[in-house]
């Protein structure tokens, strides 16, 4: 590699972020505990800076750099912007919560940003090595974030489970990648795609590799039958960390899957389509049915996530540009929805009290009708009831599979969302129909209140005027996928 040819521009946001993280880490050693608010401000500034650089460095055609390991295209730019936004929102929502629990420390912010950096690399990778590197950076940061509450038995247990199972999944993924390498002789996604298309690789080896890769990916997405870690991690982690695990990483994981399966192995669509169809059906079924039995709302949302990921896979397995765009749209809307639901939980928690069972939401309408309304919007959006954004997400995905004539899959999908509607309705029932058991006042920081309101109202606004975002997803897919 010639240093003079190295184009750093496409990776400018990542470079800026790395420097900023180091600054935050260094500062941590020099300031007292009382001034930790500084980190919060710096982290938000970093995200804002990244967003600006992201927009500035955008180019109309995909740009490769670092010897083809890193790509900056419309897809990655769009998803990265969404991730900056959601990470910033996570920080805003968590501010009071982590302060109450003694987690307002430098590590929290630097780990959160490291996780984001990992996601950025996953999203922009065009090579199996960089993909894997991003994934591990994300995973290791998340393991440590969960374990940050080291005196909490549940949190340590969750971190341990996540770590052991995550390592296993990474192993599966690596094993699969090594087979692909064995078959094609390259780790570059574009070259892998070419080799598969020209049938120069050993098909048997490729299919074996694909199976391991799909297994690893399903684990990272948290889909059945590799979903066991999801409920435990969601429940065991501090709610702020749950939100961090559950929001932006889903976006990153989705693009990760897209890069490998679509950009790298689209020629094998028939093979992975069947696998994903099975995984999707199982995820929607087990996720939705098991969620009904939950009394802990974090656990319930974990199962709901599993079913949402199943739904998202439907768009992916359609194997058409419309399907990919639908899945991207789904993941963006999903992140918006999960932000509000956990945001409300964070807002209702206070020092010494965790809002985490369904009963804790009872009578929220009589305590504060505005938050009740926000949660109502989110729940109906998750259930896919129009006119909320969640409806178009489901609609787009179902349209994509009807387009490829998989009617049975479409019917299973809508029936599963019917089952899912039950437990979302139950949350609304607790909020509106039941009397409050806990009547203490709800205190939220003003900035959080504002961001949370915008976040939830966005679900309604996007439900009425979704065209812009859908168009953005379609364009991003078009620009990013045609080149390969």
């Amino acid at each position: 590699m010639n240093w003079a040819d190295l184009n750093l521009m496409p990776a400018l946001p990542e470079l800026f972020m790395s420097v900023a993280i180091l600054v935050i880490l260094m500062l941590d050693a020099f300031i007292s505990d009382a001034k930790r608010g500084l980190h919060y401000g710096l982290a938000l500034l970093t995200l804002a800076g990244c967003a600006v650089l992201q927009v500035q460095s955008y180019s109309a055609v995909p740009v490769h750099t670092f010897s083809g390991m890193f790509v900056s295209d419309a897809l990655s730019s769009l998803v990265k912007l969404a991730m900056y936004g959601s990470t910033a929102m996570v920080l805003v929502y968590s501010r009071q919560y982590i302060a109450d629990r003694g987690l307002l420390r430098g590590e929290f912010f630097s780990l959160a940003l490291f996780a984001l950096l990992g996601m950025n690399i996953m999203v922009s990778a065009s090579h199996f090595l960089s993909l894997y590197m991003g994934l591990e950076l994300l995973s290791l940061s998340l393991y440590s974030l969960i374990a940050l509450q080291r005196d909490e038995v549940k949190a340590t247990e969750a971190a341990m489970k996540y770590f052991v199972l995550g390592a296993l999944a990474s192993g599966l993924l690596l094993y699969g990648i090594s087979m692909i390498y064995g078959a094609t002789g390259t780790l570059d996604l574009a070259l892998v795609a070419k080799a598969i298309k020209l049938h120069t690789a050993n098909d048997m080896l490729l299919v074996f590799g694909l199976v391991f890769i799909v297994a690893g990916l399903c684990f990272k997405l948290g889909t059945v039958p590799f979903h066991m870690w999801v409920p435990d991690v969601y429940q065991g982690s501090a709610t702020a960390v749950t939100l961090m695990v559950g929001a932006a990483p889903k976006l990153a994981a989705f693009v990760f899957v897209l890069r490998i399966l679509v950009q790298g192995m689209e020629a094998m669509v028939a093979d992975w389509q069947a696998m994903l169809a099975l995984v999707a059906v199982l995820s929607m079924a087990i996720g939705n049915i098991t969620a009904i039995a939950q009394t802990n709302i974090k656990r319930m949302l974990a199962y709901s996530t599993i079913s949402h990921m199943g739904f998202l896979l439907l768009g992916l397995l359609a194997g058409t540009p419309d399907g990919y765009a639908a899945a991207l749209f789904y993941s963006l809307i999903y992140v918006l929805m999960s932000m509000v639901s956990f945001g409300i939980l964070l807002g209702l928690s206070r020092a010494g009290f965790e809002c985490e069972t369904l009963d804790d939401l009872k009578g929220l309408n009589s305590r504060n009708s505005w938050y009740a309304l926000l949660m109502l919007l989110t729940m109906f959006s998750m259930a896919g009831v129009p006119p909320l954004a969640g409806f178009y997400a489901k609609f787009a995905v179902i349209k994509a599979i009807v387009d490829i004539h998989l009617y049975w899959l479409a019917i299973i999908a809508v029936m599963m969302s019917l089952i899912g509607a039950f437990y979302y309705l139950r949350v609304v029932k607790n909020i509106y129909f039941d009397e409050a058991q806990d009547t203490s006042a709800i205190v939220m920081r003003a900035d959080m209140k504002l961001v949370l309101s915008i976040n939830a109202v966005a679900l309604l606004v996007l439900g009425m005027l979704p065209e812009r975002v859908i168009e953005l997803c379609v364009q991003a897919m078009k620009q990013s996928l045609t080149v390969i």
Binding site: P387, F391, I398
Partner: protein, 498 residues
């Protein structure tokens, strides 16, 4: 009056609802109530030009609006009404006004949210009737579940939670399958969700038509509701507050029947013909069997709820009277008249029960007796609604039933004979209930304490009574509006798509 009259009719109540919601807590309850009445009144007044400005000589869509909405999915913001849907938009705006007045004092628990839910729902229902894009229709059709779910669940009776879940999940089940059917039709119609484009699809094989028909059937039959998917209705009615029952019976049931008219019949004419015997059979079961079920009810609200199912059976019967490939004009128009009439009559009946419930807090027939002694004015009004419910000539209830029976005789004598039993059963269960509740000696001290209707209640009863009588004496005023649109529908259904 305005170029975007339909948009105004849809969005004015929704905006008013949001304003009412913004008044917040119970301390500003009166402001919320007045605001709600103003909103409902404006909504009603805005809907009137649709009637007066309607061109009777045009069977197509009027007051049309087309704007791009979600171009990537082929979805347009396309509104328009014909002589059929126009009537329901007005009926709905009218009922909303009645409901807001009906809930004036009765609702003391969070009145702002109650009124807002009704106003928002009113806008959504108008949207469902006016939508000419399938997904726009679906959005309104589904969206109205949210306020209705809250209305039953928050302000309902003791088993409100069960009833609200049942209502929501039942209706969702049907509509989700319809969504898949709509998406299928989207690809058949050349990537558009326009309903008129759906109707214009030239060829759909019969087996596909039947599958699609089943999807539509599940969605609309649950809403109507037809036997045997009617079981949610008695539960929802009994537990809903008075206003909720009024809107449910007067409007939301009609959306089901309207769905058959707008989607199932013109888009899938061959399947409709092929399966019409099933529709007729189910309708007759509803008319006869549910009529008998109504006879044995001890709860007044349940009785009227079952009577609604039985009356809606008449409507679906009228919609599927085929002679060869042609629908019977009398029957279709009768069904439509019956739909509008039932809107007034059932709203009146539920309001009457609500008036008594507010005084005695019981819906059991056995807890009443001799109400006429204490509430003579009320008894007179209720007499009118009860007569209309049993189909007495000169009330609106008669016109519709008579027309459907006339149509049925032309198709098959036995259909008509079975359907006509409703005139006996309907009279039996309604008047028997009326006798036990209203006439006789004052039966207990609760009835002794009942005071006659106040001005607000009188207003609601009087307006509904005028509507019932007006429609009974001069149904022509309604029929002439729908005549050409019905002709259009019949011509459309007569074409085969095989």
């Amino acid at each position: 009056m305005f170029t975007n009259q339909l948009s105004l009719v849809i969005w004015a109540p929704i905006v008013a609802g949001l304003l009412v919601l913004a008044t917040g807590g119970d301390q500003r309850a009166n402001l919320a109530r007045w605001l709600a009445v103003a909103g409902a009144l404006i909504g009603f007044l805005l809907s009137l030009p649709l009637f007066t400005g309607f061109d009777n000589l045009n069977g197509g869509m009027q007051f049309e609006e087309v704007k791009p909405w979600i171009a990537s999915f082929g979805i347009q913001y396309h509104l328009g009404v014909d002589g059929i849907s126009m009537l329901f938009v007005i009926l709905n705006s009218f009922t909303t006004l009645m409901v807001v007045l009906a809930g004036w004092q009765v609702i003391q628990k969070r009145p702002a949210q109650y009124m807002a839910a009704f106003l928002i729902m009113s806008g959504l229902i108008n949207g469902a009737f006016a939508a000419l894009d399938a997904i726009l229709f679906y959005v309104f059709f589904e969206g109205m579940l949210i306020p209705m779910y809250l209305i039953i669940g928050v302000w309902g009776g003791p088993r409100r939670v069960y009833a609200s879940f049942k209502f929501f999940l039942y209706t969702l089940l049907g509509s989700l399958l319809m969504l898949v059917a709509l998406i299928y039709l989207y690809f058949q119609a050349g990537k558009t969700f326009d309903i008129q484009a759906f109707q214009a699809i030239a060829k759909i094989p019969l087996n596909v038509q039947i599958l699609l028909f089943i999807a539509f059937f599940l969605s609309f039959a649950v809403k109507v509701p037809m036997w045997p998917v009617h079981t949610w209705l008695p539960d929802a009615h009994v537990e809903a507050p008075t206003g909720g029952s009024m809107v449910l019976a007067a409007i939301t049931l009609k959306i089901g029947a309207y769905g058959f008219l707008r989607f199932a019949l013109p888009i899938l004419p061959d399947a409709a013909r092929e399966l019409s015997w099933i529709m007729v059979a189910l309708s007759l079961v509803a008319v006869v069997y549910i009529g008998l079920v109504a006879l044995v009810q001890t709860d007044m609200k349940k009785l009227v709820a079952y009577s609604s199912i039985s009356h809606m059976g008449f409507v679906t019967l009228g919609l599927f009277m085929f002679t060869g490939s042609h629908l019977n004009q009398w029957a279709v128009e009768g069904a439509l008249v019956q739909m509008v009439s039932h809107g007034f009559v059932s709203a009146g009946m539920f309001f009457c029960i609500g008036v008594m419930y507010d005084r005695v807090h019981s819906r059991n027939i056995a807890d009443y007796g001799g109400v006429a002694n204490k509430m003579p004015i009320f008894a007179a009004f209720m007499m009118l609604f009860a007569m209309a419910n049993s189909g007495l000539p000169a009330t609106s209830g008669f016109a519709g039933e008579f027309m459907v029976i006339m149509g049925a005789v032309q198709v098959n004598f036995w259909y008509a004979a079975l359907a006509a039993t409703t005139l006996i059963f309907g009279a039996a269960y309604t008047l028997w209930m009326y006798k036990r509740v209203i006439f006789g000696e004052v039966s207990n001290h609760h009835v002794e304490e009942m005071a006659d209707v106040n001005k607000r209640e009188f207003l609601v009863l009087a307006v509904l009574a005028i509507a019932v009588l007006g429609m009974g004496l001069y149904p022509q005023g309604f029929v002439e509006k729908m005549h050409l649109s019905v002709n259009d529908l019949i011509a459309h259904v007569a074409q085969t798509k095989l």
